[in-house]
Symmetry: C2
Subunit: 122 residues, 2 copies
DNA sequence: ATCAATGCATAGAGTGTCAATATATCAAGC
DNA sequence: GCTTGATATATTGACACTCTATGCATTGAT
């Protein structure tokens, strides 16, 4: 009867990377990014609006994305697109994540190698 | 000339898991856990003492580890060992991490698939 | 006696994320 | 015209995790 704590903030620490990669295949506005990430992750990640927009502002302040309002369709939307620097950052962070994940993977391998049932001793 | 920000808190969000797995092969005291993690990660993770000890207290409060002082060697050390519940938790969190990592991996695959040079056209 | 390494611990600050809330537009139904 | 629900951006306050900085005490070497 252990409480689940990892329900909400699953993305912790990788949201920047996720959002950048969501913009990799073309400009999007916030709501679109939300849906794209949710779909791309098979429902695993659900980025809250209150999380996404401040994050986008931060990414823009870093110079990794640029935004432009568009109200030609009636509905006002703020489109974000990767800058060249943002694209480099995306690749850089992605590679970094891979190294990091490999490292954790090596540490966890022995744990995941054996079944939970074989762990009653100690 | 982009500033590196990921220098310090690399482990963000996975420290519990790392510490639990450090205890998987037998009891350790704090200082030993620090060294074990640093070594197991090839120097990638360096868990600060000020991070580790509060975390251990939390793990104990959750019932995942139990501690016992030992001063039979002159130097007083607080040994931590996994409880059965802690071992289950370790496996559970490890599996969860794998799913999570797989998910990110799928999203990043196209990004890492191509080289950074082939990305000038936004 | 002094100093570095060992060993555990707390305090304060920073950051990332969430929940809650606010505002405004559009489309649909009454 | 009015209301309602989905769309869309944004701010606020709170919370959790980690870091840095600091403190204290012991051990072993110089």
């Amino acid at each position: 009867m252990v409480k689940e704590k990892t329900s909400g903030d699953m993305v912790r620490g990788n949201l920047d990377l996720m959002v950048l990669s969501a913009l990799a295949d073309g400009p999007k506005y916030g709501y679109l990014i939300q849906n794209a990430l949710s779909k791309a992750s098979g429902g695993t990640f659900t980025v809250q609006a209150g999380t996404l927009y401040p994050l986008l502002h931060r990414l823009e302040a870093e110079g990794w994305v640029r935004s432009r309002w568009d109200d030609s369709t009636g509905r006002k939307r703020k489109w974000y697109r990767l800058t060249p620097r943002g694209r480099k950052q995306l690749v850089h962070q992605a590679q970094q994540w891979r190294e990091y994940a490999d490292c954790i993977w090596r540490i966890l391998a022995p744990v995941l190698g054996q079944s939970p049932d074989a762990m009653e001793s100690s």
